[in-house]
């Protein structure tokens, strides 16, 4: 979309090509939501980004919260004052927020509250591919699953209504192929957000001490019964195709529905289709009826057999003779990775004993014969990325022996050769705690590597632990002054907030000192000698230390230069070059290429950071560092 302000047009009936995430923002405006909170994470990031761009004009309060837990706390606080709210996060963000969400289900909300959880089957940009529909089962919260951008918009609006009817938060579970798909979306009417809420004291409902939690759980289960009625009547739980033959019936939800319908069509499989859009609680009666009408039920769902387990239980009571094909018995569809028309077609073909019209194995064989040994092109640190300088310094000071616990962000790409920094990566903030355990077990200093946004998100309790328990951990904060990987969102260390206004800047070094860390240094990683010296000192210490390598993200700098019309003067290789390959071997910068045995600097990619000039033993690289 050329300009997010197009989302603000009243214009009901207008058709726009929207990204799933943009459709969710349009829904925020059509549902009269007052408060939007988020922590950026792929594939949910553009919800916050588009909202941030228009929030002021739309009269919606929007914030980038420090982490997903805080995002839910803020939104739930607002929703309990009767205003409508929405929080958006990636799937693993809901793990962070889970403590709040689980008991928020007990207190409930007064204004409609929607939690968007964006799952990432295939781990396009994630550390795992957990199926967050199970959070709905775990928390007893209703859950809706859109299949495309239009449904994402419609379902947010419905979810707000359901949330207010039940006085419960509602989960909207999307996946990458909904968030990052563009499709036609028809605008509805805009609604005005409530400007000011009202808090009514109701201690027994909102204060979850044991005496009030016990009855609150009973209340929650009652609400769940009401939710089941809503699910039975929901227009999102619908038979989209009815065949006269009563043999095959397909049940599907979310993105998987798209593949299921297309694959069945390609195969020429005559099957009725039950599409489930509200997947918690399930419409048991509707499903039982479908099970009775069809003798062979095929369940097509992405990741875990969430529907299948529950549908099998329904079948046991209502249609014990029905045959169910999915992934819990014989595995017709994969339980890992994202589905596709291909994987579903192969499963259907095997179930129906009908040959697939596309010979995928023939294509695969031809492809592997023709295209073997293609050089890989994994994502890499950009040319000019300050993390490359940091990793160069870290490798020089820490060598091969030191263990490097790393974290979530662009700098995870530091594991690639030749930098090879990163021995353990699990989740946001884990580097700091893990490094402490590693140092304890190995009886020597270990290094934690964490980004600026990640430090604020989940690093601080770990740092306090290092001080409190006096661990020999060197915490290196790679501060590029933005949340780079997800698209350059601001964070507490930037001095900019979600509504795009200036705010108090929180300094990482002040936080570290405040937590009691004695050795705290802030350095420019491109000044490699000074940076290396400080890191060597830190490694010698008997307790924790913090080194902040501060230098802005090169993409941000390049954008700023382009905006101001400042030309970048790329570095050059001079005649003094002996082709020793030191630059290529130690840095792995994409702007350094080798052709006919000679090193070249790409004038398109070079961003004039000057790191290659600093490492060249023959001083054969020239240029002007443009800071």
């Amino acid at each position: 979309m050329p300009d997010p302000r197009l989302l603000l047009e009243e214009n009901p009936g207008k058709r726009m090509l929207l990204l799933g995430n943009e459709a969710i923002v349009r829904a925020i405006l059509e549902a009269g939501i007052s408060v939007v909170t988020t922590y950026p994470g792929t594939p949910a990031s553009e919800i916050g980004d588009s909202m941030s761009a228009i929030a002021k004009e739309a009269g919606v309060y929007m914030e980038y919260s420090t982490n997903e837990m805080v995002a839910v706390e803020v939104a739930a606080g607002a929703a309990n004052c009767g205003v409508r709210a929405l929080s958006a996060m990636k799937h693993v963000g809901l793990n962070v927020a889970a403590d709040m969400v689980m008991t928020l289900a007990y207190t409930g909300v007064r204004g409609g509250y929607v939690i968007v959880t964006a799952d990432d089957p295939e781990c396009f940009s994630s550390q795992n591919e957990q199926d967050n529909r199970f959070y709905a089962l775990l928390s007893s919260l209703p859950c809706m699953e859109p299949s495309n951008p239009q449904e994402a918009k419609d379902m947010v609006i419905s979810a707000v209504e359901i949330s207010e009817k039940l006085e419960l938060p509602v989960l909207l579970r999307t996946t990458t192929r909904v968030n990052h798909v563009r499709g036609p979306v028809t605008y509805g009417r805009l609604a005005k957000a409530t400007e000011k809420g009202k808090f009514t004291r109701e201690v027994a409902r909102l204060v979850m001490v044991p005496a009030y939690s016990r009855p609150a759980h009973t209340v929650l289960l009652k609400k769940l019964e009401k939710a089941a009625d809503i699910s039975e009547k929901s227009p999102y739980n619908v038979v989209t195709k009815k065949e006269r033959s009563s043999e095959y019936g397909v049940i599907s939800s979310g993105a998987a529905y798209n593949y299921a319908v297309e694959a069945a069509r390609l195969l020429g499989l005559k099957a009725s289709v039950l599409k489930l859009g509200m997947t918690h609680p399930l419409p048991k009666k509707k499903i039982a009826k479908f099970l009775k009408e069809n003798s062979k039920i095929i369940i097509v769902e992405e990741l875990e057999p969430y529907l299948e387990m529950q549908i099998k239980a329904i079948a046991k009571d209502h249609a014990p003779n029905v045959q169910i094909y999915g992934k819990t018995g014989k595995q017709y569809f994969p339980r890992d990775g994202e589905l596709s028309v291909k994987t579903v077609l192969m499963g259907l073909s095997s179930i129906a004993g009908k040959a697939s019209p596309i010979d995928f194995s023939k294509i695969a064989k031809k492809y592997s014969d023709m295209v073997k040994e293609l050089p890989r092109r994994p994502p890499i640190l950009c040319a000019g990325c300050p993390h490359r300088a940091s990793f160069y310094v870290i490798r020089r000071a820490g060598g091969d022996k030191t263990i490097y616990a790393t974290d979530i962000g662009c700098y995870a790409l530091g594991i690639a050769p030749p930098l090879k920094v990163g021995d353990l990566l699990v989740c946001m903030g884990a580097s700091i705690g893990a490094a402490q355990g590693i140092s304890k077990a190995l009886q020597e200093a270990a290094i934690a590597i964490i980004g600026d946004s990640t430090f604020f998100h989940a690093g601080i309790p770990g740092l306090i632990n290092a001080v409190y328990n006096n661990h020999k951990a060197v915490v290196i904060v790679l501060d590029n002054l933005t949340t780079a990987m997800t698209g350059h969102q601001p964070h507490p260390g930037t001095g900019v907030a979600g509504m795009r206004h200036q705010t108090e800047r929180v300094f990482i070094e002040k936080v570290a000192r405040g937590c009691g860390v004695e050795y705290v240094k802030v350095l420019d990683p491109f000044k490699i000698k000074k940076a290396e010296k400080a890191l060597r000192e830190a490694l010698q210490r008997n307790g924790p230390s913090v080194i902040v390598f501060r230098s802005p993200c090169t993409l941000m700098v390049a954008r700023e230069r382009r905006r101001k019309g400042i030309a970048i003067r790329p570095y050059r290789i001079t005649d003094a070059c002996k082709n020793c390959m030191a630059c290529v071997r130690t840095l792995g910068c994409p702007a350094l290429t080798v052709e006919d045995g000679k090193v070249h600097i790409s004038d398109i990619l070079c961003s004039a950071c000057g790191l290659c000039a600093s490492v060249c033993p023959y001083h054969a690289i020239e240029g002007e560092a443009s800071a």
Partner: protein
């Protein structure tokens, strides 16, 4: 039209996302149903990227099954090869000659395959392949950042695409920031003329 599938292959940062959005927007202008799939985040950092555009009333899935691309639009020769699993003898492959050597090649001191080798491999899948001299055309357009619109122009010149040139130009004008519109429209026309001449020569 039942369905029409376009796969766009390139390297993160080359503008494949915008090209896909232009195609999707043009399709919507012509009243078609469309799905565009994109990959953001981790995959963008100079890594291999693929965008898919599917047109047609019955289209639901945003991704194209193997062997089902009507057009494979390659922004980079090696990335075009990497996505040949989408191609069949019915596919038209349009490939830019702009090479971006993966760092692995430099690290191992291996040469980038010649354009002849690349074409030979494409020919194993389809004889219908066009190489676009994008570097020369982008220089002529006056910006190194307009490769994507040059290629869209070349695509529009091909009778196979079920979209009008006019809708594509309108979509471009809507989606590109005002100050870059004229350079991009020029680049689009250069790509268009280039492909028209290429097709005429072939006849």
């Amino acid at each position: 039209m039942k369905e029409f599938n376009i796969v766009i292959a390139g390297v993160g940062g080359q503008g494949t996302l915008l090209a896909a959005e232009v195609l999707g927007t043009a399709a919507l202008k012509e009243g078609m149903n469309v799905r565009v799939s994109e990959i953001h985040g981790m995959a963008q950092r100079g890594g291999a990227v693929t965008s898919e555009v599917r047109l047609g009333d019955a289209v639901l899935s945003p991704t194209v099954p193997d062997g089902q691309a009507d057009i494979l639009l390659g922004f980079e020769p090696l990335e075009t090869l990497r996505n040949l699993r989408y191609a069949s003898e019915k596919t038209l492959v349009i490939v830019s000659d702009e090479r971006i050597p993966p760092t692995e090649l430099s690290a191992k001191n291996q040469p980038y395959p010649s354009i002849d080798e690349i074409i030979k491999k494409i020919h194993c899948f389809t004889k219908n392949a066009q190489v676009v001299d994008t570097r020369r055309l982008t220089e002529k357009a006056g910006s190194s950042l307009v490769q994507n619109t040059v290629l869209l122009g070349a695509l529009a010149a091909n009778g196979k695409l079920p979209l009008e040139k006019q809708s594509l130009v309108e979509a471009l004008r809507e989606l590109i920031p005002t100050r870059h519109v004229e350079t991009n429209v020029k680049a689009f026309e250069l790509g268009y003329d280039y492909a028209i001449n290429l097709n005429a020569k072939r006849l």
